[in-house]
Each structure stands twice: as structure tokens, then as C-alpha cells.
């Protein structure tokens, strides 16, 4: 609660700083619109923004969910199979370093301009951090617990479900945290490459019509969601860590 209040305070400060900057530098509105202008555009275009926001938010959430599920599946698979580990572990590390954003145009050509290509884009940028983090967590199970499971005669799967996975939850939390930051980028870049709706599309449209205030309004709506997602996932990760700590 206190954190939220402080965050709001900082936000207000930032907006005030922005307004002052605009006054001082007399920067033309088509380069940086004043917050007051953006706020008016936000209000005037509320229906348009809401409609497009819903599309983008949905893609982000769906992609994040899918990416997380797939990432978890891969991590568990790798943890269970030493062979898969040898073969796939470097791929995971490698793939994270590849600019997946650059693949957006190809994805679009394959999957069309509908939400599918954006969701897959989000999956791509969320899958690797989740898989990698959870896998690390699973591999870092403290030796002692492993010994305990062995001496107690635990089966492979029960050991996984009752010890290895719960102990790796904080690692999963930090993976999802990274993924949640990347997910909105994935969706917006997917939309920039080709789309007929969504906040990224709206930004392009506003840009093409020289409506910088609308472009910023869309950006604000996106940033608000990103921050909210960040906070929500943070809280979740914290809860997971508490459960273990």
C-alpha cells in the first residue's frame, strides 16, 4: 500500500517534470506533446484506446501464459532427461541471445496479421527466460534434499513434484518477472510489423497522421499496463519466494 502510494507520488512528479520540460524548451507538440495535451487525447479517444488496449492486453496475457506453461514444460523435461539436457541446454542459452524481435516479420508472414503472430511473438520472448530460469532452479536443488529423497526411496516423479519443483518456485518467479517485462515489447513489435488493431497499431496510425498526442496516449496506456503487470508478477514472485524462504 505504502509502496503504491510512493509509486503514485513518483508518477505525479514525473508528469510534472514532463510538463515543465515542455514549457521550458518550448518543444513543438508534434515532437513531444505536453502531458495535458496527451491527457485530453486520452479522454477524447477513450473508446478507441480501450478497444485497442483490450486486444493488446489479451495478446500479452495469453502469450505470457502460454510462454510460461511451455517454458515450465521444457524446464521439467530437461530436468528429467539428462540426454535432452546435454542437447538442449546450450540451445536455451543461445536462443536468449538471439534478437527474436527481428523474427517478427517472418512470424507475421507465416501466421498472418491476426493476433496469432503477436501471441507467438510474446511466447517467443517469454518462453526462454521462463524455461531457463526454472531449469536453473530445478538443477540447483540442494544436495541434502536429493539425499533425503534417495534414502527415503522416492520415485523420480514424486521427487520432482514434492521437492524439486517447490524448491525451484522462487527461480520460476524471477523467470516470469523477466518474461513479464519482455512480453509487452513482444506484442507491440508484433503489431508494428503488421496488424489491424492493438496499441502498437494505434501508435503507427497516429504516427502516420502526425497525431503525436494520440501516439503518446497509446504509449501511456501500454506503459500503465506494463507497470501493473510488473507489480502483479512481482507480488506473485514474492509470494512464491516466501513460500520457500
Amino acid at each position: 500500500m505504502k509502496g503504491l502510494m510512493r509509486a503514485l507520488g513518483v508518477l505525479l512528479l514525473a508528469v510534472a517534470g514532463w510538463q515543465v520540460l515542455v514549457w521550458l524548451t518550448a518543444v513543438p507538440h508534434f515532437i513531444l506533446p505536453a502531458p495535458e495535451r496527451v491527457a485530453r487525447s486520452l479522454w477524447a479517444n477513450r473508446a478507441l484506446l480501450a478497444e485497442n488496449a483490450v486486444a493488446t492486453y489479451g495478446q500479452i496475457l495469453l502469450g505470457l501464459a502460454l510462454g510460461t506453461v511451455l517454458g515450465c514444460g521444457t524446464a521439467v523435461q530437461l530436468a528429467l532427461s539428462p540426454l535432452a539436457r546435454v542437447a538442449l541446454r546450450p540451445v536455451l542459452v543461445f536462443a536468449q541471445a538471439i534478437p527474436v524481435f527481428a523474427l517478427a516479420p517472418i512470424l507475421t508472414l507465416w501466421l498472418g496479421y491476426g493476433p496469432a503472430s503477436k501471441v507467438v511473438m510474446v511466447v517467443l520472448v517469454t518462453y526462454f527466460p521462463v524455461a531457463s530460469a526454472l531449469h536453473d532452479g530445478l538443477m540447483r536443488m540442494p544436495q541434502g534434499y536429493d539425499d533425503l529423497a534417495r534414502v527415503m526411496g522416492a520415485g523420480r516423479m514424486r521427487r520432482l513434484w514434492q521437492l524439486q519443483l517447490p524448491l525451484a518456485l522462487p527461480a520460476l518467479g524471477s523467470g516470469v518477472r523477466l518474461a513479464a517485462v519482455a512480453a509487452p515489447f513482444g506484442a507491440v513489435i508484433g503489431e508494428w510489423v503488421g496488424s489491424s488493431r492493438g496499441l502498437g497499431y494505434l501508435m503507427l496510425l497516429a504516427n502516420g497522421r502526425a497525431q503525436t498526442d494520440l501516439m503518446f496516449a497509446a504509449l501511456v496506456v501500454l506503459a500503465g499496463f506494463t507497470v501493473a503487470l510488473h507489480l502483479a508478477v512481482d507480488r506473485l514472485a514474492l509470494a512464491l519466494t516466501r513460500r520457500i524462504g
Binding site: 533425503l148 520415485g155 514424486r158 514434492q162 517447490p166
Partner: protein, 242 residues
Amino acid sequence: MKLPPPAITVEGCAWLGNAPLFGPLRLVLQAGCWTSLLGVSGAGKTTLLRVLAGLETGARFEGAITAGDGAAVGPRLAFMGQSDLLLPWADVIGNVTLGARLRGKRPDLTRARRLIAQVGLAGHSHLRPAALSGGQRQRVALARTLMEDRAIVLLDEPFSALDARTRAEMQELAGRLLQGRTVLLVTHDPLEAARLSHAAWLLHRGRLEALDLPATPPVRPVEQPGTLQAQAEMLARLRALT
């Protein structure tokens, strides 16, 4: 325990790479008795215990582990170490019944509650480990070990993280509750060995040397001069090592 506690013999050598760690040696745990193992840090005590438990070690072991009754050793083992290894997300009763759940069996909750009461935590069944003191957590670990009801129990410095008072209490509790089982106790504390063991060995330069103990049966009171005497002698033996 379907069979009575067996005697256990570990016989063989262990290497770290090409350097010998211990052996050839022969360690016999008398059936139903406590055997202590002392030695300087790095002597190989933990390695020996883990070899007995069939757990991975950094060393290569060549030799055999045999039970006096000829039956398999592995499934009759329980194990307790310096860290309590409780699951932070499970309450006391969940931790005590972990073994059954790991084997996919229905835990015997009545027995678990009885054991929790025996270790003095009757009212604490539904607390999480974070709400317990270090001594209480080690009691839960003891109850978990008892719950396994194994004939052979391996203890690797089980009380070394506890303060003197709690440690003395835990020694008595464990000595009482594990009575009649075949126990191997690895410890650094001469007083602990002097109080708890039927036989004590010093692992030094890869060989075992016998340590003297009072004639009275364990658990021996601290105040008893024989106990203190044995402690002082063991410490002197340890300090004389080069």
C-alpha cells in the same frame, strides 16, 4: 522394522582421483549399537557415511557393505544430517510424513502425531519450520527419521548447529528414541561421542583407531566423571594428531 537391526560391515578403500582417501579399512557397526566416528576435518568421515548410505560422493569407493543378516542394507536406512532439511512450505506433520508421500503411500497420521509428541512438539503439529527454533526444527527432523522406522540410522553431525543446552537435550532424546537400532554417528564433539556411543573410532590418515569409552551403557550423564574423562581423552587424542 520387519527384521531385527543387523550388524553392518563396511570394508574397502576410497580414492579421490588417484589419491587414496581412506582404507583399506573395515568398520563394523554392532547390531543395535551406537558407533561414533571422529576425525579431523577432511578425514573422510562424511564420505564413509555416504558410501554406507549408497549416496554419491566425490570419492571412488572399492569394497563392500554387508549386513550381518545378509539382507539388503539400502532399504533399511534412515539418514539425518547437520541441516534439518525441512520443507519450508510444509507444517510439522507434513514434514514428518514426507517419506510416505515421497513413496506414494498414505501416511500414518496417528503414528506421526505420537512421534511428534515424543519429541516434545505435541502442540506444534501445524506450525511451519520458520515458526520453530533451531532445536525444535531438529526435533522435527528426528521425528521424521523415526517415522521412517528403519533398522539402521546414519547421523552426520546431527546436533552440531545447536547450542550446548539444546544439544545435550537432543542427545538424550535421540539416544532414547533410537535405542536398539544400529546407529552410525559422525561427530566432532568428543563429549557427544562419550555420552552416546557403544563404540567409537578415530578416522585418521585413512585408518580407524579405537577410542576408549566408559563401561557404563549410553546415554551417559555429563556429570559422570567417566564421561568427562573419556571426553578429555578423546580431545587429547584428536589434538595429538599430526
